[in-house]
Every structure is written in structure tokens, then in C-alpha cells.
């Protein structure tokens, strides 16, 4: 095994490999210091330690990153268990969309795995899985049982996917100190948005059903205005309303972007009209961590683990 050839090969796909080992010199130093002790038996362990040091950042994560990723992780558990329960409820006939829900469930499984790898021992619940029993998907009885009908299921699913999308968006600035983690979070964020698009399409009645800006039960694939408060406004209005502070986390009905009124600023194409709805749809809005947690707390069960969620 030629270690330096390996590192050189890694450099071809990861030009920053030497920086990850701090510097090229440090790699050599590290090796030479242990040189006499390196044997065929100890080399694998040494290699593992080097890569862990270079690529693992568990010990170096700042508090903002840990808090942001752990909130994301809890939302992923909320969603994964939700879809998993739906798929396991045979009386809930998802029909051909069961395949789509399985894809979304698997996406959340992957996100959980990736987030836990970054967080290591600092992951929520000590890195242990959070089962469905930690959640109450009726929000304390304020929502109908989502597993009793597809209408209920897609309504609650829409609230979750839109909350998740806004949470990742709001959390992104807190990840800027680590570009690789930021990029991973952005790459999850857009997948959540894809979920939202699909869930909304199914909810409004499929590909041939037109979306409505006035009937929240027929949502477009994009968030239009404040969605009239969403499926059950008493519970779901915060999913679309402003966070705190509202200047940084405006409601989904916002049309002012970086000081520009994007409705009046736009020259419409082909004699069309830029409606207020279109101006709100063109931009999704971020949500702050405290507002996201307040939404999450509505969906935790009375178990000890449940009560530790979204604290």
C-alpha cells in the first residue's frame, strides 16, 4: 500500500485534501513521528485516524452548526416516522402514490444518516433513533388523524414539507463557517422543496387538476400567498406566517425582496400580468429556529423523549 500515492489520488477528486490534513508537511511529520511503529498491523488504524482527523469535524463544530443541524435532524425524524406510519397503515390507501411516499421516506432516512454522521456524538438523543411514539401527528387532537384518510394525510404532509423547507432556508446562514456542511444542507433543502411540490400536486387532485389561490385544499406546487392559513389555520397558519424578526423572516405572502417590489419591478412576458400571487410564489421565505420549534412542539407526544423534542 503506497500511502502517498493514495493521497495523491485523492487530491485528484479533492484538491483540498492536503489542507484537510492541515498541510502536506504535517502529514509527513505525522507519519515520520510514528514511522518506527508503523507495521502492516497498525497501518490501517493509523490511516483511519488520519482520515477521521482530516474529514471528521465532530469536535470542531461550532454551537450554531450543532443547533441548526440538530433542529433539522428532529424535523427529519418527524417526517420519516410520519411517512413510515402512513406506508404501514394498510387502511390508508395511498394507491399509486405509495411509491412516491416511499421515495420521500427514503430521502428522510438518508438525510438522517447524513446529519448524524456530521453531528456524531452531538446528534439529538445521543445519536439514537427517535421512533414514531415520540410524535403526536394530530397535534394534541387539533388535527384529524392523518392516517385515517388520504385527504388528512396530504394536508398534514404539506405542512411538514413546507416547514422543513423554510427551516433549512432559515438555518443556512448559521452554517456559513463550514462550506461543506453548508453545501450539504443546501443539497437537502432543495430535495425538501421537491417533496413539497409533489405532495401539493397529489393533494390538489393530480397532474390534471389546476391549482387555486383561493381554495387551500387545491394548492399549487409552489407556495402562493399565505396559503389562506394552510389546511387547518389554527394549527398550520404559522407554517406560512412571518417568523421572528419578521424583517428577516417574512411571511410567505412577502413581495419585497432586498428592497425591490418584485411585482411592480417585473416587465411581464407576452402581455401577461404579474399578479400578487405570482410575486409571492416566485420566492419562498425562511423561518427562524424558534418559530420552527414552536411548530414542531405541536407534534410531540407526551413521552419523555417526545417532550425533549424541539426544546
Amino acid at each position: 500500500m503506497d500511502l502517498f500515492k493514495i493521497i495523491s489520488d485523492i487530491e485528484k477528486v479533492d484538491p483540498e485534501v492536503y489542507e484537510r490534513f492541515d498541510t502536506r508537511r504535517r502529514v509527513f511529520k505525522h507519519m515520520s513521528g510514528l514511522g518506527k511503529k508503523v507495521t502492516a498491523a497498525t497501518l490501517p488504524g493509523l490511516l483511519s485516524a488520519m482520515f477521521q482527523k482530516a474529514y471528521g469535524q465532530t469536535s470542531g463544530l461550532n454551537a450554531d452548526i450543532v443547533a441548526t443541524l440538530n433542529l433539522a435532524l428532529q424535523l427529519e425524524y418527524l417526517e420519516r416516522n410520519f411517512y413510515q406510519t402512513a406506508l404501514a397503515t394498510t387502511s390508508l390507501n395511498l394507491g399509486s402514490d405509495a411509491a412516491a411516499i416511499a421515495i420521500i421516506r427514503d430521502d428522510e432516512i438518508g438525510h438522517i444518516a447524513a446529519l448524524k454522521q456530521v453531528l456524531g456524538t452531538q446528534a439529538f438523543n445521543g445519536g439514537n433513533d427517535v421512533p414514531a411514539a415520540a410524535f403526536d401527528y394530530t397535534a394534541g387532537g387539533k388535527l384529524p388523524n392523518p392516517f385515517a384518510s388520504t385527504a388528512n394525510f396530504y394536508a398534514t404532509a404539506q405542512s411538514f414539507v413546507d416547514t422543513g423547507m423554510r427551516a433549512y432556508k432559515g438555518g443556512a446562514p448559521k452554517l456559513m463557517s463550514n462550506k461543506d456542511i453548508l453545501q450539504a444542507a443546501l443539497n437537502i433543502h432543495s430535495v425538501e422543496a421537491r417533496h413539497s411540490s409533489h405532495v401539493r400536486m397529489v393533494r390538489r387532485g393530480g397532474l390534471t387538476a389546476a391549482g387555486s389561490t383561493t381554495d387551500q385544499s387545491k394548492p399549487k406546487s409552489w407556495i402562493s400567498g399565505n396559503e389562506n392559513g394552510g389546511p387547518v389555520p389554527a394549527v398550520t397558519a404559522p407554517v406560512y406566517n412571518a417568523g421572528n424578526p419578521a424583517t428577516d423572516f417574512p411571511a410567505e405572502s412577502n413581495i419585497m425582496q432586498a428592497g425591490v417590489n418584485v411585482q411592480t419591478n417585473t416587465t411581464p412576458p407576452m402581455n401577461q400580468t404579474i399578479t400578487t400571487a405570482a410575486a409571492t410564489e416566485a420566492f419562498d421565505e425562511p423561518l427562524d429556529a424558534d418559530t420552527v420549534k414552536a411548530i414542531g412542539r405541536m407534534f410531540r407526544s407526551n413521552t419523555t423523549l417526545g417532550q425533549s423534542l424541539f426544546a
Partner: protein
């Protein structure tokens, strides 16, 4: 739209689909020894060189202004595409489903809103208006329109995701985030229109369940994105992003 040029046969033959291989880079590199092992497996992949400092290319510039211009360029391309869709035979046909028409009108408005927003926000720092080359696209054919819409939307998502790491001002990062999720909504719906339940696919998302990049969008570097985008821009409107490597 006076900026939309008529295609020539020669250009049409040069034009290729947007689907270029993903050149893997380093964002899986945070997760420990397993990721290191993944890097080993990928070490055999070729790394294409991209053009640089070509005087015939419009460079998007540097810093956050450069990233915003990069976004402005892509939004111009999308806005021009959907504007042309609105006049094409597929959209105007009486046989086209009303829900589909609504979808394309909505997206056309969204993209024009994005493009005009960046133009205003950038002010004097904005790059020029770009002239697209859509000669490869048959605007009378549903499949052609849907497939190119999918390509442009997926490219946009991968572009914004890959650009986030270069942004310095948190406000601009959030701004990009506000737009990329709308592009992802477009992409997912267009993909479902092409084939139901392909809103997420392994061409755009890593389908591993366990890796550090598990179920994450495959973001692209500016160089990778512009290699694709330049196929749909006329000579004199093709782009480079030399400050973002």
C-alpha cells in the same frame, strides 16, 4: 422578445442536451473515514478542464456580485425559454391540458420575476442582457418543451446549490435560498409531468441511504453549469465564472 435569435442548422447540430456527467467534488468530505474511502473510489474519475480567461466569454465577475450575476444569467436563460414557450405551438394548442397551461404560465412569470429582480438589484453591476440560442428546442412539441424545461430547472437547482459556498453576505445566501426552492418546485413538477413519481431521481439526487451525501441534490460548480448553459446561449452571450473554482 427581440433578444431571441433564429436558429441556424449548424448551431442546432452543435447543441446537445444539458445532461452532462457530474464531476464529483468535495462536499462529501466532512463525514469521517468512510468519506475518505469514498474519495479513494472516486480517485479514478477524470477531471475535465474547463475553459478559462477566454476573451469571447462574458465573465460573471467576482465576490457576491459575481454570484448574483451568475444567477442573473441563468434566470435570463430560463425566462427567455418560458417566454418562448408561451408563444409556441404546444402551449397555444387548444388540445393542451388547462392545468398544464397554468403551470407553464406560472413558471414563466416566476422566472421573469427572478430575472428582472436580479437586473434591478445588481443595477450598474449587472452583466448585459443575454441572447439565447434555443434552436435545438421544438416549442411545438410537448416532449421537447418538457424535457428542456426539466433540464433548465434541474440545472438551476444544481447551480444555486453549488454557488452557496461562494456567497459572503448571509443576506445573499438567504436570497439564493428563497429562489432555489422555487426552482426545485418547478423541477419536481415538470419531472412528474414527464413521468409520475420522478420528482426526485437518481440523476439529480444521490440515492444512497447511508453515505455523507445520502439523498442530497447533486450540486454543480459554476464551471460545470456554464458548460451546459453555454450550449443555449448565442456567440457573444456565452459565459465564464473564472473567480469561482
Amino acid at each position: 422578445m427581440s433578444k431571441i435569435t433564429q436558429p441556424t442548422r449548424e448551431e442546432a447540430e452543435v447543441a446537445k442536451p444539458l445532461f452532462v456527467p457530474i464531476k464529483r467534488r468535495s462536499f462529501f468530505m466532512y463525514a469521517g473515514a468512510t468519506a475518505g474511502a469514498t474519495a479513494l473510489l472516486l480517485a479514478g474519475c477524470d477531471d475535465d478542464d474547463n475553459n478559462s480567461n477566454d476573451p469571447n466569454l462574458i465573465d460573471v465577475g467576482s465576490g457576491d456580485t459575481g454570484i448574483l450575476n451568475y444567477a442573473y444569467a441563468l434566470e435570463q436563460l430560463e425566462a427567455a425559454f418560458y417566454t418562448q414557450v408561451l408563444t409556441g405551438g404546444y402551449y397555444t394548442s387548444a388540445n393542451t391540458n388547462a392545468a398544464e397551461k397554468q403551470i407553464f404560465l406560472d413558471i414563466a412569470l416566476h422566472e421573469k420575476i427572478h430575472a428582472d429582480f436580479f437586473k434591478t438589484a445588481l443595477g450598474n453591476n449587472a452583466i448585459q442582457g443575454l441572447t439565447p440560442d434555443f434552436s435545438a428546442i421544438n416549442f411545438g412539441d410537448r416532449a421537447s418543451v418538457l424535457n428542456y424545461a426539466k433540464a433548465f430547472e434541474d440545472l438551476g437547482v444544481a447551480a444555486y446549490n453549488g454557488a452557496g459556498r461562494y456567497i459572503e453576505d448571509p443576506k445573499n445566501l438567504v436570497l439564493a435560498g428563497k429562489i432555489v426552492s422555487v426552482e426545485a418546485r418547478h423541477a419536481a413538477l415538470i419531472r412528474d409531468l414527464i413521468s409520475l413519481n420522478t420528482f426526485v431521481g437518481d440523476d439529480v439526487v444521490d440515492f444512497s441511504l447511508t453515505s455523507a451525501t445520502a439523498r442530497q441534490e447533486k450540486s454543480k460548480t459554476p464551471a460545470q453549469v456554464l458548460e451546459s448553459a453555454n450550449l443555449y446561449l448565442a456567440p457573444g452571450s456565452k459565459l465564464s465564472a473564472n473567480s469561482f473554482k
